[in-house]
C-alpha cells in the first residue's frame, strides 16, 4: 500500500502560519483509519470528504470495488482494496451518515485523474501537519501525536486499475 516515492505526495502548505501559528514550511496531510491501521495521505489528490452515503453494491464479484454512489450526478466507485472493511450486506443496508462499529464512517473522495474519481471508506478522518523532513523521508510512516501512520498513496493502492 505504500508508494516507494512519496516525496511528491506532500507539498508545502500555503501560509501555515495562519493555521498553525508556525512559520515553518510544514505540509498538510490527512490521517484516517482503514481496517485496523492508521494512514496518512497528502491532500493533493483529495477532492472532498463526505459522510458515508447510500452505496449500491456491485452486483457481481469484483476485486476491489464495493459499490457505487451518486456524487452530484457522477457515479463514483467505492473501493475497498484490502477487502476487510465492512460486509457488503451491511453496506447495502447502510443509509447516509451510517455508523459502523460505533464509529462514523466517511468517504474520502480522491480525484486521481480527470474523470477518474474514486472514494475510499475511512474512519476517524482528520487534518494533520507533517514536517517536511517526515514527508520527504523514505520511511514508510509518519508520526502523528507519537503514533505511526502509514503513508498512503491512492495511485499505488489502485495499482493496475488506473489506466
Amino acid at each position: 500500500m505504500v508508494s516507494a516515492s512519496l516525496k511528491e505526495l506532500f507539498t508545502p502548505a500555503h501560509n501555515t502560519e495562519e493555521e498553525f501559528g508556525e512559520a515553518e514550511e510544514s505540509v498538510i496531510g490527512l490521517y484516517f483509519k482503514y481496517g485496523n491501521k492508521s494512514y496518512c495521505t497528502s491532500i493533493n489528490d483529495v477532492k472532498e470528504i463526505i459522510d458515508f452515503p447510500q452505496v449500491i453494491p456491485f452486483p457481481v464479484a469484483t476485486e476491489k470495488t464495493l459499490g457505487v454512489f451518486n456524487l452530484r450526478g457522477n457515479i463514483i466507485p467505492v473501493m475497498d482494496p484490502e477487502g476487510h472493511l465492512i460486509k457488503i450486506q451491511e453496506l447495502h443496508r447502510s443509509k447516509a451518515g451510517a455508523v459502523f462499529a460505533r464509529m462514523k464512517l466517511r468517504l474520502i473522495v480522491f480525484e486521481i485523474a480527470p474523470e477518474m474519481t474514486v472514494a475510499f471508506p475511512a474512519f476517524e478522518v482528520g487534518k494533520c501537519e507533517v514536517s517536511p523532513e517526515e514527508a520527504e523521508s523514505e520511511v514508510s510512516f509518519i508520526r502523528i501525536n507519537g503514533v505511526p501512520h502509514e503513508k498512503f498513496d491512492i495511485r499505488s493502492v489502485m495499482g493496475g486499475n488506473i489506466l
Binding site: P59, T62, N70
Partner: protein, 661 residues
C-alpha cells in the same frame, strides 16, 4: 433544411480545423505520431467530403491536395520534418482562409454610401444602390405602396453570382420574397421584401441567413419611414428598419419559437446542481421522518410539510427530466443529413438512388450522435460509390434502375442497431483478397469469405480504381470502424454478391435513453430495457411447471424454459429464506427462442439515460451500465441476454459435471 446542414458542416469543419491545429502545435509531445497523422488525414478527408457536397470547390481542391500530401506522411510518421509539418499547417490555414473568405465575401445586405433615393408619395424613403431598382420602384409604385401598407419592407441585396441561386432559395425558406433580380458582371442584385407583420423575428432570420453566407451582420438598406400607415404597432416606425440599425420588432412567440444555443457543459453543470438538490431534498425528507414524533401534536404542520415536500420532489423530478431532455437529439437529425449526402453524391455519380430511412424516432445523447455522423457519411458514400451500380449495369443485371440505400435504426435489447444497406453489387470476397495481396496486406489469417470481406476495414485498404472526391482512398472504412469502436460498438458486414451489402453498427445504449423496467431481484433494484422483454405477468409460483430443477412457463399455449435471474446475482434480502407465493415473469427472445425469466418484483417503468461504468471499475458482461434513479440512487442496468446465457451455461456445466461424476 439546407441551412441547417450547411451550418452543421461549417461548424464541424471549424472544429476539425481546430483539432488539426492543436495536434500540429503539440506535434513534438505526441507519443503516437502515426495515429496523429492518421487522424489529421481523416479530418481533412471529412472536410473535403463536405466541401464537395456544399460546392466549396476551391476548399475541396486544397483539401484534396493536402490529403494527398498527408498520405505520403502516413508512410513515415515518425520522421516527418518541420518543413513538412509547416506545409501541412499552411494547407490547413489555406482551407480555413477559404471559409473565412466565404464568410467575409460581399455582404448580402449592402450599405454603400452612394445610394440613390427613391421616394414614394407619403411613403418611407428607400435608398437603393442601383438605378435599376429605383426605376423598378417608380414603375411599380402602386404595388410597392400596397405592399408597404400590408407590412412589407423592401431592401436590396448584392450577392456573389456563384452563390446567388443558393442564397435566394434560402431567403425563400425564411419567408423573404424576391421581387426582382438582375445580374451585372460577377454579381447578382436583388430587390427583396419581407412581411414584418408575419415574421417579427426578422432580424434573427436575417442574421441566420447572413451567418450562413457572410458571417457579418449588414444593415438593411431600407430607410426609416417618414410616415407609416400600417395598421398594427408591430409594423410601425418602431418596427421599421433604419439604415443604422437592424430591424427590431416586438417578439411574437405565437409566430416562431426562439432558440437558444447553450454549451453542453452548461447543461451538465445544471444537471449536477439538480442532482445535488435531489440529495439535499432527500436528506431533508429523511431528517423530517426521523424527527416526525416531535411534531406529533401538530398534525396540520406535518400535513403542510409533507404537502410542500411532495411539490418540491415533483418539481425536482420535472426539472431533471426537462434538463436531461436538453442533451438528447433525435437520430433523425443525422438521417436528414444523409438525405442531403445521397442527393449530392447521386448528382456527382450520375446514379439514381432512393434513400429509405426508418427508426428516426430514436433519441440519442448528443455526444453519441455527433460521433456517429462521420462514420455514417462514410458508409453512405461507399454505398453510393462502390455499392449501387450505374443505371446501365443495373438494367443489365435485371434490377430496377433506381438503386436503394437503406438507413435504419432499431433498439435491440441494450443496443441500438443502425443498418446502412444497399441493393448494389455486393462485395466480392475474392476481389478483396486479391486487392489485399497486391497491397502487401497480411492475409495469412484469412480462412473464409467473411474474413476476406472484413479486410476492407484494414488501414489503407481500397479497391477503388480511382480516388474520387467521394471515396476510394480506403481511409473511410478504417475510420468508420475506429469511430464505432470509440463509441463502444462494433460494425459487421453482411453481403451477397449481386444482391447488395448491409453494414450493421451495434452501439451500446450508453448515454442514450431507453425505457426500462425497474425490478427487485433478491433485495437489490436493477433495471433493464423494456426492449428486452415482450411480455410480463405476475403469477402464482404454482403456475410454473417443473421438471426436476428446471422450470417452464406456459406462454401462448406452449411451454418455454423459465430461468431465475437471481441465480447469477447476489442475495441482499434481509430475510432470504422467506418464500414468496407469487413471482413476476418476463418473456424475452434469446437466440431466436422464446424464454422466460423470473424477477421478484416489477417496481416501475421509467426512461433512463444509461451511463458507462466508471473507468476504474472492472467490466462485467452482466452489467450493461449504470444510471441514476429519480431519488438520486445509482441503479445497475442488466444485460438480460448475457445473464440468461450465463444461467444456461451454468446449467449446462452442472449437467455435464453430473454426467462426468
Amino acid at each position: 433544411m439546407h441551412d441547417e446542414l450547411l451550418n452543421d458542416f461549417l461548424e464541424e469543419s471549424i472544429d476539425l480545423i481546430e483539432k488539426v491545429k492543436v495536434n500540429l502545435a503539440s506535434w513534438n509531445q505526441q507519443e503516437n505520431k502515426a495515429e496523429t497523422i492518421d487522424n489529421i488525414y481523416r479530418w481533412v478527408h471529412t472536410i473535403k467530403g463536405g466541401c464537395a457536397i456544399f460546392e466549396y470547390k476551391e476548399t475541396a481542391h486544397i483539401a484534396h491536395e493536402l490529403e494527398t500530401f498527408l498520405g505520403t506522411l502516413r508512410q513515415k510518421a515518425d520522421s516527418v520534418t518541420p518543413a513538412e509539418l509547416k506545409r501541412v499547417e499552411e494547407g490547413i490555414l489555406a482551407i480555413e482562409s477559404t471559409f473565412n473568405e466565404d464568410s467575409t465575401c460581399e455582404p448580402i445586405f449592402t450599405t454603400e454610401p452612394e445610394v440613390t433615393e427613391v421616394q414614394a408619395e407619403s411613403e418611407p424613403n428607400f435608398k437603393f444602390k442601383t438605378e435599376y431598382f429605383k426605376e423598378w420602384m417608380e414603375d411599380s409604385e402602386a404595388i410597392t405602396k400596397d405592399l408597404y401598407h400590408d407590412g412589407f419592407r423592401f431592401f436590396e441585396i448584392k450577392l456573389p453570382a456563384a452563390l446567388s441561386e443558393k442564397i435566394l432559395a434560402k431567403l425563400q425558406e425564411y419567408e423573404v420574397f424576391t421581387l426582382d433580380t438582375y445580374q451585372k458582371e460577377e454579381e447578382t442584385f436583388c430587390l427583396c421584401s419581407i412581411n414584418l407583420k408575419a415574421t417579427p423575428e426578422f432580424e434573427e432570420k436575417a442574421n441566420l441567413i447572413i451567418k450562413h453566407y457572410n458571417g457579418n451582420w449588414c444593415e438593411l438598406i431600407e430607410e426609416k419611414p417618414a410616415e407609416t400607415k400600417v395598421d398594427k404597432p408591430v409594423a410601425s416606425a418602431e418596427a421599421a428598419p433604419s439604415s443604422s440599425a437592424p430591424v427590431r420588432s416586438a417578439p411574437n412567440a405565437a409566430v416562431t419559437q426562439e432558440v437558444l444555443r447553450v454549451p453542453l457543459a452548461t447543461v451538465n453543470s445544471i444537471l449536477d446542481h439538480i442532482w445535488e438538490l435531489f440529495l439535499v431534498r432527500n436528506q431533508m425528507a429523511h431528517l423530517f421522518k426521523e424527527n416526525k414524533h416531535i411534531f406529533k401534536e401538530h398534525l396540520s404542520f406535518i400535513q403542510q410539510f409533507e404537502s410542500i415536500d411532495n411539490v418540491i420532489e415533483r418539481n425536482i423530478h420535472e426539472l431533471e427530466s426537462k434538463t436531461m431532455s436538453l442533451r438528447l437529439n433525435p437520430i433523425k437529425k443525422i438521417f436528414d443529413r444523409m438525405n442531403k449526402v445521397v442527393s449530392e453524391y447521386c448528382n456527382q455519380n450520375k446514379k439514381d438512388i432512393q434513400l429509405i430511412t426508418s427508426g428516426e424516432g430514436i433519441d440519442l445523447d448528443k455526444k453519441v450522435l455527433d460521433q456517429l455522423n462521420e462514420p455514417l457519411i462514410h458508409l453512405i458514400r461507399n454505398a453510393i460509390d462502390h455499392g449501387v451500380e450505374k443505371p446501365e449495369d443495373r438494367r443489365k443485371a435485371g434490377k430496377p434502375v433506381k438503386g436503394r440505400v437503406e438507413l435504419s435504426a432499431q433498439l435491440q435489447g441494450n443496443e441500438v442497431c443502425i443498418v446502412v444497406g444497399d441493393d448494389g453489387k455486393g462485395i466480392d470476397a475474392k476481389k478483396i483478397l486479391e486487392s489485399a495481396k497486391r497491397k502487401n496486406l497480411d492475409v495469412s489469417h484469412i480462412t473464409n469469405d467473411q474474413e476476406a470481406v472484413n479486410l476492407i476495414f484494414a488501414p489503407g485498404f481500397s479497391t477503388a480504381e480511382q480516388v474520387t472526391d467521394v471515396s476510394g482512398r480506403g481511409v473511410g472504412m478504417d475510420a468508420v470502424k475506429k469511430s464505432i469502436q470509440e463509441l463502444g460498438g462494433n460494425i459487421t458486414i453482411e453481403t451477397v454478391v449481386g444482391q447488395g451489402s448491409k453494414f450493421k453498427i451495434n452501439l451500446p445504449l450508453t448515454m442514450s435513453v431507453s425505457k426500462c423496467l425497474v425490478v427487485d431481484i433478491r433485495g437489490l433494484e436493477y433495471a433493464f430495457s423494456t426492449k428486452s422483454v415482450v411480455f410480463v405477468e405476475k403469477i402464482s409460483v404454482n403456475q410454473l411447471k417443473k421438471n426436476g430443477e428446471d422450470q417452464y412457463y406456459e406462454f401462448n399455449g406452449k411451454l418455454i424454459p423459465c430461468f431465475t435471474l437471481g441465480e447469477v446475482l447476489p442475495d441482499y434480502r434481509e430475510e432470504p429464506d422467506l418464500p414468496s407465493s407469487y413471482t413476476h415473469i418476463c418473456v424475452t427472445s434469446l437466440n431466436g427462442q422464446e424464454v422466460a425469466f423470473r424477477v421478484d418484483e416489477i417496481l416501475q417503468t421509467m426512461n433512463i439515460v444509461m451511463k458507462p461504468l466508471p473507468k476504474i471499475v472492472e467490466r462485467h458482461k452482466y452489467i450493461a451500465g449504470v444510471s441514476i434513479l429519480p431519488g438520486g440512487n445509482p441503479i445497475f442496468l442488466l444485460n438480460i441476454q448475457e445473464c440468461l446465457t450465463g444461467i444456461m451455461s451454468n446449467k449446462r456445466g452442472e449437467f455435464h459435471g453430473k454426467r462426468v461424476a
